[in-house]
C-alpha cells in the first residue's frame, strides 16, 4: 500500500505537465481496490450532522485556509477582506497556493485547516485516487458555472469541435470539472478525448503563457485566466461552460473529516462564514465591490477590470463583441449529492476509478448536503428540501438513480 502511494505520488510528477499516462499507471496498480477499501475507512454515522445546533466555545480561532488564485474561490477569499470570518469569531489567514497538487498535499499534511478545492477532489481524495486515501468532506460548493473554453486567436474559424482533431488542450487538474466537462463536450461532438485530442494538465497561470507560445491550442480553465487570455489578445472565448451544463458545480470548500470531528464548533463557525460569504457573492449588486476587494496582490493579483468582467458578466469575448451574461459565474453553496454522483460517473467513464462504485454512499459521505442546508436555513437563506435531482447536460438527461446505466450509455468512454 505504502509503495503504491509513494510511487503514485512520484509519478504524479513535479511539473504537472505530463500527459494522462498516469491514469494508465493507476489502472496498472489497480484503482479498483479503492472503492472496496472505502467502507472500512469511514465512520458513517460520525459524519452525519457534524454541524451542531448550539455553538459552544471555539476550539481554535486562528486558522489557515488555502486557496488557488482564481475567481471560483471568491467567497473564500473575499470573506477575509470583507470581514466574514471575523463576524464568526475566526482569525483566518487565507494562503495562496501554487496549484492543486500542492493544495491537496498541504491539506493532507494539515498545514491547512480547510481549503478551496475542485469539487471532484474531495471525492478522489476520499477514494484515494491519485493520493493517500483520507476521508474528506465538502460541506459547501463555492461557485457554479464560471469556466470557459478558450481557443487561440488562430482558430477563430474553427468553431466546430469536429475541426479540433489533433488539438492540445489544457485543464488545471485531472480531478477537475474542467477535465470532465471538456471530455464530455468533445465526446458529444464525436471526438475521443484520449485519442483525437490531447489533454494536458497545466496550472492556470501557465495556461495563458502556453497559449501565447502556441504550445496549446486552447484550454478549459477557471477564470480570471479565460478573460485574461482575451485581455492579453491571445485568445477568444469559444463557449462558457454554463452552455454545456447550466448550473454545474466547479470549486468547493473542503476540509478533512478529522478537522470537523475534532473541532466541531470551529468547523461550524467556519462553515457559517463561508456560506454567508457565498450567499453574499451570489448577489449581483455586490459583485463590483467584491472584484475590487479580491484583485490586489495579496489575493488574486490581477487587473480589477479583468475580475470585474468575470464577476459582472459584462465582458469582451475576444471576437470584437461585448457579451452580457450576468450568471456567467454564480455562487451557490448547496452540495447536491447528485453532483457528486455525476462526477463519479465521469471518473468511472474515463477510467479514473474502476470496479463497483457505491455512488450514492460516497456522495452522501463526502458532500454534506444536510450540514449546508441546516446552516443556510439558519442564516435565513432558502435551501432545497431534497439533496438529489436530475440534470440536463447538452440535451442528455442524467438520472441520478441510474448512475451505472448512465456510464454505459455513452458511445465514447473507457468504463
Amino acid at each position: 500500500m505504502l509503495d503504491r502511494m509513494v510511487e503514485s505520488t512520484l509519478v504524479r510528477g513535479i511539473f504537472g505537465h505530463s500527459d494522462m499516462h498516469r491514469r494508465q499507471f493507476m489502472k496498472l496498480v489497480g484503482g479498483g481496490t479503492a472503492a472496496a477499501a472505502l467502507a472500512s475507512f469511514l465512520p458513517m454515522e460520525a459524519i452525519k450532522a457534524a454541524v451542531k445546533e448550539d455553538m459552544g466555545p471555539l476550539e481554535k480561532t486562528r486558522l489557515n485556509v488555502g486557496f488557488v488564485p482564481i475567481t471560483c474561490a471568491t467567497p473564500i477569499i473575499m470573506a477575509h477582506p470583507m470581514g466574514f470570518y471575523e463576524r464568526y469569531g475566526l482569525d483566518v489567514s487565507v494562503i495562496k497556493t501554487a496549484g492543486w497538487a500542492v493544495a491537496r498535499d498541504k491539506s493532507l499534511n494539515r498545514e491547512y485547516d480547510a481549503a478551496h478545492m475542485l469539487t471532484p477532489m474531495p471525492l478522489a481524495m476520499t477514494l484515494g485516487a491519485g493520493s493517500t486515501p483520507e476521508p474528506y468532506i465538502m460541506p459547501a460548493v463555492e461557485n457554479i458555472n464560471g469556466q470557459a473554453i478558450v481557443l487561440h486567436n488562430d482558430h477563430k474559424e474553427k468553431r466546430d469541435p469536429k475541426q479540433w482533431k489533433g488539438f492540445i488542450f489544457g485543464v488545471p487538474f485531472e480531478y477537475s470539472m474542467h477535465n470532465f466537462l471538456l471530455r464530455y463536450y468533445v465526446a458529444e461532438h464525436g471526438l475521443d478525448p484520449d485519442q483525437d485530442i490531447q489533454i494536458r494538465v497545466i496550472p492556470p497561470p501557465e495556461m495563458v503563457a502556453n497559449l501565447r507560445a502556441g504550445n496549446i491550442d486552447g484550454f478549459l480553465s477557471p477564470d480570471p485566466f479565460n478573460q485574461r487570455a482575451v485581455y492579453e489578445r491571445i485568445g477568444f472565448i469559444h463557449l462558457l461552460t454554463k452552455e454545456i451544463w447550466e448550473g454545474h458545480p466547479c470549486c468547493a470548500f473542503a476540509t478533512s473529516q478529522a478537522f470537523a470531528t475534532e473541532n466541531p464548533n470551529t468547523y461550524g463557525a467556519l462553515l457559517r462564514s463561508i456560506i454567508d460569504a457565498t450567499q453574499y457573492s451570489s448577489k449581483q449588486e455586490n459583485r463590483k465591490e467584491i472584484a475590487a476587494a479580491i484583485a490586489p496582490t495579496n489575493y488574486l493579483n490581477q487587473p480589477v477590470t479583468v475580475i470585474e468582467q468575470v464577476l459582472t458578466g459584462t465582458y469582451a469575448d475576444g471576437l470584437g463583441g461585448v457579451q452580457r451574461v450576468p450568471d456567467r459565474i454564480d455562487f451557490d453553496p448547496f452540495p447536491w449529492h447528485s453532483m457528486a454522483v455525476w462526477i463519479l460517473t465521469q471518473m468511472k467513464r474515463w477510467g479514473y476509478i474502476e470496479g463497483d462504485v457505491n455512488y450514492q454512499q460516497i456522495a452522501e459521505q463526502v458532500y454534506l448536503a444536510s450540514d449546508a442546508g441546516k446552516v443556510m436555513r439558519e442564516l435565513g437563506y432558502d435551501a432545497p428540501d431534497e439533496a438529489s435531482r436530475n440534470y440536463e447536460i447538452m440535451g442528455k438527461t442524467f438520472d441520478y438513480t441510474q448512475p451505472e446505466a448512465y456510464v454505459k450509455s455513452f458511445a465514447i468512454g473507457r468504463g
Partner: protein
Amino acid sequence: MDRTTTEWNLSLNMRATLVALVLLVVGLGLWEGLNQVPSGGNTAEMTEYEKLMGGVEDTARVPPPSDVIERAWQELSNPFYDAGPNDKGIGIQLGYSLYRVLTGYLLAAAVAIPVGFLIGMSPLMYRALNPFIQVLKPISPLAWMPLALFIIRDSEASAIFVIFICSIWPMLINTAFGVAGVREDWVNVARTHELSPLKTAFKVILPAAAPTILTGMRISIGIAWLVIVAAEMLVGGTGIGYYVWNEWNNLDLTSVIFSILMIGVVGMLLDMCLATVSRLVTYEE
C-alpha cells in the same frame, strides 16, 4: 619596462570597463527603443469593447528597462513591507529564500564533509558507497519534492530537504576527491610521526584538501540558489520563487525581470563569499 607594463594593464582594465559600459548602454538602449508603446492616434473615445480590453493597442511587448528600473525603485525603497501572508516586500522574500538555502546547505555540509572524508580515506567505503552516490547524484532535486511532501508532511521542511539533497553531492564528491588526492608522502610523514588517524585527518589531510573541498562548497551554494527558486515556485507561500510565480500569475513581466535581476545579484554575492573563503585556504606546494 615595469612602468609600461602597469600602464598597459591599467589601460586594459579601463578599456574593458569602457567596453562593458558601452555594451550595457547599447543593449539597454536597443531594448528600450524596440519596446516603445506607439504614440498618437489614441485620442478618440474608446468603445465599450476597447475599454474592456484595456485600450486599443494590440500587441504584447517586453517591458522596457525604464519600467524595470521604476519597479526596482518602488520595490527597493520599501523592501520590508508586510501586507498579509501573500504580499510581502522583496527584502522579506529574499530573507525567506536565504534562510532556506543556508539551512539546507549547512545541513548538507555537516553530512557531506565527514562522509567525504570517510570515503576519501577508506578505499573500502569508497567502493561500497560509490554505487549509491552514482544513482542518487543525477536525480533532479525537484523530483524529490512529492516524496518529501508525503514523508515529511511539511512544505517548509520539504523545501529545505530539497536544498539539502541538491547541495550534498558536489561537496561530498569534492571532499572525497580532495582527501584521496592528498600526496602520499605527506600521509607517510604523518604515519612516521605516529599521528592517530583522527589527528592525521585534521592536521594533514584537511589543510591539504581544503581548496578542493571549498570548490565543492562553492559549486553547491550555486546549485542551492538555483534550486530554491524552482522549489518555491512549486510550494509557494514565501520566498523569491513565490514572488516570481505570483507575478507570473499576473503576467507582470516587469516584476519578473526585476526579480530575475535580484536573484542574479544575490547568487553572485553568495558565490563571492565562498570565493573569498577559498582564497584563504589556498596554498602553494
